[in-house]
């Protein structure tokens, strides 16, 4: 690991240089919010932000993505043969991703990069991407990353972690991919003595996180008893069953496959889907295993805070970015639900049924 100092003039110059080898993405201001977008050459990402409205998960996992192409024209030799859609997996870098969003990519990776089966679209996009993180010195009151297995200076999933020192950035180069990007940008002013400053800033930033959740009891709570807990109707009542929480969540990965035909040529695409939508699970017979709103809301929270915990033993499927808290139109708050789940005692369920 190398520690580099990048003065802010050199920052802009470096990004312009790196743009020759990388397609750059970064947060830019879009009306009242920030959004990750492709940067034009010379465009500097706006790093003076809190969290973007949507997470940058779509850079690797687009909301709609063509995966297969085919022709239905029977005069063509290859009609009805489904082929992998041509994609561009040339090197790209996402500049200014927050540690929470970078960690989220690692959680999603457990799904798309399983030991026995890989999603080639996700994985190739992931492998093509260099993650250049911006540590978070001004967290929001709804951020709870430090108790969600992450933190404002968490380096997991990052190739470079930067912090803002006013005049310059300090950059921790964490991987070979990160080093390659620093080389491409011409950033080479090593300042190993700045390690202490980094640590101090990390401690200061972590102290600013005022919101926390407790997850210590989730592992040992019985899955079926938690599933049958009496609080789910109350939790779910306000829910509109819209997709805001799942679409804004950096760790939600569920998707749909759809065919679309135009004339004689067609594509199959992956579209984001949501466990909040009734049609997500409905069978062709009309039977729906998760017929009610309560069942669907429970699925979302149980998946994040119990099923995932049990399945992968790497903690919860949430990085504490707070987007769902801030954006839910009816203020369903995962922190409140997590508290209910973590403090759940099976006896409660018995009493409620009794």
């Amino acid at each position: 690991m190398t520690l580099l100092t990048i003065d802010k003039q050199n920052w802009t110059k470096g990004l312009t240089a790196a743009a020759d080898q990388y397609q750059l993405f970064g947060p830019v201001k879009d009306k009242d919010q920030h959004q990750f977008k492709a940067l034009t050459k010379g465009q500097v990402p706006d790093l003076d932000l809190v969290n973007t409205r949507l997470s940058p998960k779509d850079l690797i996992f687009p909301q709609s993505e063509t995966i297969i192409e085919y022709s239905l024209d029977e005069s063509q030799a290859d009609h009805h043969i489904m082929k992998e859609a041509a994609k561009d997996y040339s090197p790209r870098a996402v500049v200014g991703i927050r540690p929470c969003d970078a960690k989220a990519v690692q959680l999603v990776k457990l799904n798309f990069d399983a030991p026995d089966v890989k999603d080639p679209y996700w994985l190739q996009a992931y492998e093509a991407t260099t993650f250049i993180g911006m540590a978070c010195d001004a967290p929001l009151s709804t951020c709870f990353c430090t108790s969600a297995g992450c933190g404002p200076y968490n380096a997991e999933g990052l190739d470079i972690l930067m912090m803002d020192q006013g005049e310059n950035y300090l950059a921790k180069v964490l991987t070979d991919k990160g080093q390659a990007f620093a080389d491409a940008a011409g950033w080479n002013q090593a300042t190993p003595e700045a390690a202490d400053a980094f640590m101090a800033a990390k401690d200061a930033a972590e102290a600013k996180i005022v919101s926390t959740i407790s997850t210590d009891n989730l592992v040992d709570t019985d899955l079926l008893e938690l599933h049958g807990a009496s609080f789910w109707d109350d939790v779910a009542f306000a829910c509109l069953n819209c997709g805001t929480c799942t679409f804004s969540c950096p760790t939600c990965w569920c998707f749909d496959l759809q065919d679309e035909v135009h004339g004689k040529s067609g594509v199959r695409m992956k579209n984001w889907d949501s466990c909040m939508f009734p049609i997500f699970t409905v069978h062709t017979t009309g039977h729906n295993p998760r017929e009610t709103k309560t069942q669907r809301v429970r699925q979302r929270f149980m998946h994040k805070l119990k099923y995932f915990v049990d399945k992968y033993q790497t903690g919860i499927m949430c990085v504490g970015c707070g987007r769902c808290v801030r954006q839910c139109p009816v203020n369903i708050d995962i922190r409140r639900v997590c508290a209910l789940m973590n403090s759940f005692k099976p006896a409660d369920a018995c009493a409620a049924q009794g």
């Binding site: 009306k31 819209c242 805001t244 679409f247």
Partner: protein
């Protein structure tokens, strides 16, 4: 507003205690500034969780659809008009409901307030006329009139049109309101300009369907966008599919929309889809003299045939 909260708790407690109703639907305090969460109360002792302030913009009629219990519901002017719609459209029975009318002076728009102050908003308090916003390093006093939801600023039915009891005396209705200035402006544009306007308006849409799901009118068991036989709309992010969803959804609400603003309020990306619904509202008024949800005795304009219906569109 705190008097409202006090009275609400009393009424809810009374109705539950004397078994007039099985549940009361209202709001509880949210976990963030400018947010309250719709909730239900079934035990009299829980009535104290109810609150009321200018952050109760979600339309509670949406929570009545197909319910079987006897329910007390707090209803602003717009909520009450949607309850009328619900009763007329058989989504709930009148005798199931105990409607507690809430005279309303408008709900505040958190997006507007976010746009008016720098930094994260930590606390918002309000009086009759003002809204005080506290951030980490400043306190700003805003005129409540300036930060109302757009639909509230244009509202001409602030008092409930139907109720079993009222929470307070009626408030003064706003008069001399021009509800359609922005709609007329679009009507006067050229075709290309119009097309582009909606292209830009809908560009941020992520198809989360919060607008549809927050709308009390959108209670179809399967929405046309979710149909597979036949599939009317593509499911991806193509702009044409997104536009088709928004304009057809608006059309399905024609003559029924009360401009409660729930759609715009719920939208996580800040789209003003009311530009579509209010165009239809305006046409309904001009062509049929119709305003939705004012009476239990008449059906929505597009639901009935009258011999004097305009038919200039048939050539």
């Amino acid at each position: 507003m705190s008097e409202y909260t006090e009275k609400m708790r009393q009424i809810a407690g009374r109705l539950l205690k004397d078994c007039t109703v099985e549940m009361v639907i209202g709001f509880r305090k949210g976990t963030m500034p400018m947010m309250n969460e719709p909730c239900f109360v079934t035990a009299p002792e829980d009535a104290d969780s109810l609150v009321w302030d200018s952050n109760c913009g979600i339309n509670l009629a949406n929570y009545l659809t197909n319910r079987k219990e006897k329910i007390a519901v707090f209803a602003k002017g717009c909520d009450s008009r949607n309850i009328v719609n619900h009763i007329v459209e058989n989504k709930i029975q009148r005798d199931q409901l105990h409607i507690i009318g809430v005279p309303c002076t408008g709900m505040i728009d958190k997006r507007k307030i976010h746009g008016m102050v720098d930094g994260e908003i930590l606390e918002v308090t309000e009086t009759e006329e003002t809204v005080k916003v506290r951030t980490a390093d400043a306190e700003t006093l805003l005129d409540k009139k300036e930060v109302l939801q757009n639909n509230c600023a244009l509202c001409i039915h602030r008092n409930p049109v139907i109720s079993d009891e009222m929470l307070a005396d009626p408030v003064e209705e706003q008069t001399d309101i021009d509800r359609y200035a922005d709609v007329r402006k679009i009507e006067e544009m050229g075709d290309e300009e119009k097309w582009q306007l909606f292209e830009d308006l809908l560009a941020p849409c992520i198809r989360c369907y919060a607008c549809r799901n927050a709308c009390p009118l959108c209670y179809c068991p399967t929405c046309f966008v979710d149909e597979s036989k036949p599939q009317w709309v593509g499911k991806g992010q193509d702009p044409i599919d997104i536009r088709t969803f928004h304009f057809l959804r608006a059309y399905h609400c024609a003559g029924r929309c009360t401009d409660c603003g729930a759609c715009q309020r719920a939208c996580p990306v800040g789209i003003d889809m009311r530009l579509l619904t209010r165009k239809l509202e305006k046409d309904c008024q001009e062509q049929f003299g119709w305003e939705a949800g004012l009476s239990l005795d008449s059906r929505p304009a597009l639901d009935v045939y009258q011999t004097n219906d305009p038919e200039a569109f048939i050539k």
